[in-house]
């Protein structure tokens, strides 16, 4: 940490982590409702819909808090000056947390706008807009004052403005259901395959620069290419959500072609990470931070690239659309692309915020967290995929009634929940580890514990 105002990032990370923990715990209950029969009396007061709204909104909230915290950490260092208004950043966090808590409690009492992922009532949505404007003003003024523009800052600020602008399309009430969903995807798709990718690419580039010391010019050059490909495939690729909502048939062509190309920028990102690793100066330390970077590159490609491609073509999507296949892709992609990115960034930033020497820390517990979470989510996504294929075959192809098709899926949802337990364990370990991060033990201590890693140890643990 070089600038005092970077400190405001820490409370963002803390609350992001706590909300992440809550999200996965609620997720267990969401999954369990597919396995067991919940009595009518319980369903009447706490239906699946409520728990699902909580699970998804917690996801959005913790990830946005993570991005914001990361931005507050990254901007002073990149702009080489203090943040414009550190106190405003704290006020903004308080506003967002109060909004989040109000929304979650509100869901329990049926206070909802009833639009998936955008359930928070309009009043609260306006508060979020105010907080977003505070955030953009804070970051924007800092960057404009510094006038040290580079590609990382540009990508980050561009992504943040893009993110905030798209949120507005989710706010009005649309009379026509088809038009409603058309613009719903302007928020959701253009977030995760547009704005969030810009932010993620900037955060990943920043991490590579800090950890490898590779030439900034090379990193930035590839950043331009990645962003170009992300936006080229991502913007028109929104069309893969427009196949079956009552939009013109041309979307089948445009959505199919552009989204078929979506794995390429992610593959480039994977290759970019690999190249930086090879051209780095010095050792791959701290190993756990690298594990996160590598894990993110691989699972981002698997979850978003491969699992996404698997059902993006209209010929396949006709049968899989709106089934558990989508859920499988959603879980692995969000975890691989954005959960690991945020957590990896926390592992980069927290030791520096705490002033540990060279950003090193005691990694032992964190490795358990990483592997439990990663293998848990991977297993969970595969179980969702099996359930999804069963559903596709039984309901969509054979034409069995919905509930008949769901019956054999229940076993696989049990497998999902069991993996969910592993994920929860991993998340608890990771959250505890990050919140109680300690400096690296002295070398002698490590040697005694038989842990001193030789210089050429790879990215694995």
């Amino acid at each position: 940490m070089t600038y005092k105002s970077q400190r405001v990032a820490y409370p963002y990370f803390v609350f992001a982590l706590l909300l992440f923990g809550l999200q996965v715990v609620v997720g267990l209950w969401v999954g369990l409702q597919y396995v067991i029969t919940v009595p009518q009396a319980v369903v009447d007061v706490f239906p699946f819909a409520t728990s699902r709204a909580m699970h998804t909104n917690l996801l959005v909230l913790w990830m946005l808090l993570g991005f914001m915290g990361a931005t507050f950490y990254l901007v002073p260092e990149e702009a080489e000056c203090e943040l414009a208004w550190p106190k405003l950043a704290i006020a903004q966090l308080v506003i967002l947390l109060l909004t989040g808590v109000t929304a979650l409690v509100g869901f329990l009492f049926g206070w909802t706008r009833g639009r998936p992922l955008l359930e928070i009532p309009t009043v609260l949505a306006f508060v979020v807009v105010v907080a977003a404007l505070m955030f953009l003003a804070n970051v924007g003024v800092t960057l404009f004052r510094a006038r040290r523009w580079n590609a990382v800052q540009g990508s980050l600020l561009g992504g943040l403005v893009f993110l905030a602008a798209m949120y507005l399309f989710g706010m009005p009430f649309y009379r026509n259901l088809s038009m409603d969903w058309f613009y719903w995807w302007w928020v959701i798709h253009l977030w995760v395959e547009g704005a969030w990718e810009l932010i993620a690419a900037a955060m990943a580039a920043f991490m590579l620069l800090k950890l490898t010391g590779v030439d900034r010019k090379v990193v930035e050059k590839w950043l331009y290419v990645e962003l170009g490909l992300f936006l080229f495939t991502g913007i028109a690729g929104t069309g893969h959500h427009y196949y079956w909502l009552g939009a013109p048939k041309a979307w089948l062509w445009i959505g199919g072609i552009f989204s078929a190309l979506e794995p390429f920028p992610i593959l480039l990102m994977l290759w970019d990470t690999w190249r930086s690793v090879r051209e780095r100066h010095g050792r791959l330390e701290p190993a756990l931070t690298w594990l996160y970077l590598g894990g993110m590159a691989v699972l981002h490609f698997m979850g978003a690239g491969l699992f996404g491609f698997a059902h993006t073509l209209p010929q396949i999507n006709y049968y899989t659309h709106g089934s558990q296949v989508t859920v499988s892709h959603g879980h692995l992609a969000f975890f691989g692309a954005y959960a690991l990115l945020n957590l990896g960034f926390f592992y980069l930033a927290v030791p520096r915020l705490k002033g540990f020497r060279e950003g090193r820390y005691d990694e032992r517990l964190g490795r358990w967290g990483f592997w439990l979470m990663t293998l848990g989510v991977l297993g969970m996504s595969l179980a969702f995929a099996v359930a999804g294929v069963l559903q596709t075959y039984l309901e969509r192809i054979r034409g069995e009634p919905y509930m008949v098709a769901q019956q054999p899926m229940r076993f696989w949802m049990l497998v999902v929940v069991l993996h969910g337990l592993i994920v929860v364990a991993g998340v608890v370990v990771t959250v505890v580890h990050l919140l109680t991060l300690r400096p690296e033990p002295a070398e002698t201590e490590r040697a005694e514990a038989g842990e001193l890693v030789p210089a050429r140890a790879g990215m694995g643990s």
């Binding site: 009833g114 969903w181 050059k221 962003l227 659309h321």
Partner: protein
């Protein structure tokens, strides 16, 4: 690759995609009215959409394939279940799904809300969305339809029993639901005319019956089902 080429890739890629997207957005707006039958989108449908959102239906059900995946897709629910079927599920889910391993919350909808939701779902069911979902497509015979047609050649009444999904509640030969009496049991105790009357309006014959009326069937079809059920009984215990 130079930085100049990299920047060119960025701008060309972004702008080409953005142009395609915006042109298609205009095209979509121009097509929506026809594809969604906007002329039929009246205030009742809009009220129904409000009710649909107020009760957070979309966080269990999908509609147009979007939403949560915990309950059946609603795009063609109106066509699939008919007005009576949807109404029954909205008004008394705790009865309809009493034997189901997955429940629907009783939301105490007002009669106006139920009517609005029906208007909304009726309008949605007519959206022209390239024949999705496949299981409700009138242009594709599902496996169950094929089975039904194969059965119809042998016994039209058995095909009707399958078509109306009687075995969701009644059992036959050890298969089927348990919330209604076994079909063999009914066949041994009732005559065809009684069964036909019962199917037409269960409430009128037996007060408090949990069975829904099947007014969509013709008089002749109901009688045919009655004769089929009577024929199932091995031994008649009631004259």
């Amino acid at each position: 690759m130079t930085e100049r080429i990299a920047k060119t890739i960025f701008w060309v890629g972004t702008l080409v995609s953005l142009t395609v997207f915006l042109v298609m957005t205009v095209h979509t707006h121009r097509s929506f009215d026809a594809l969604t039958h906007a002329d039929a989108l009246d205030e009742k449908v809009v009220s129904g959409k409000h009710a649909f959102e107020r009760h957070n239906c979309n966080d269990c059900h999908t509609i147009l394939g979007f939403g949560a995946y915990y309950a059946p897709d609603l795009t063609r629910a109106y066509a699939r279940l008919g007005e009576d079927g949807v109404r029954r599920r909205l008004e008394s889910p705790e009865v309809v799904f009493a034997d189901s391993y997955r429940k629907m919350p009783q939301q105490h909808l007002s009669p106006t809300e139920v009517d609005d939701l029906l208007a909304f779902l009726r309008w949605v069911s007519r959206i022209e969305n390239h024949d999705w979902p496949p299981q409700d497509s009138p242009h594709r015979w599902s496996r169950s339809t094929e089975r039904m047609l194969a059965g119809a050649a042998l016994s039209p009444a058995a095909a009707l029993v399958e078509q109306e999904n009687c075995l969701a509640c009644h059992s036959l030969g050890g298969q089927g639901g348990e919330s209604g009496p076994r079909l063999e049991w009914i066949g041994g105790r009732r005559d065809a005319a009684y069964i036909a009357r019962y199917i037409a309006d269960p409430e009128a014959v037996s007060h408090g019956s949990r069975m829904p009326p099947f007014q969509g069937l013709s008089e002749g079809q109901r009688l045919m089902i009655g004769e089929f059920i009577v024929s199932l009984a091995a031994q008649r215990s009631v004259p």
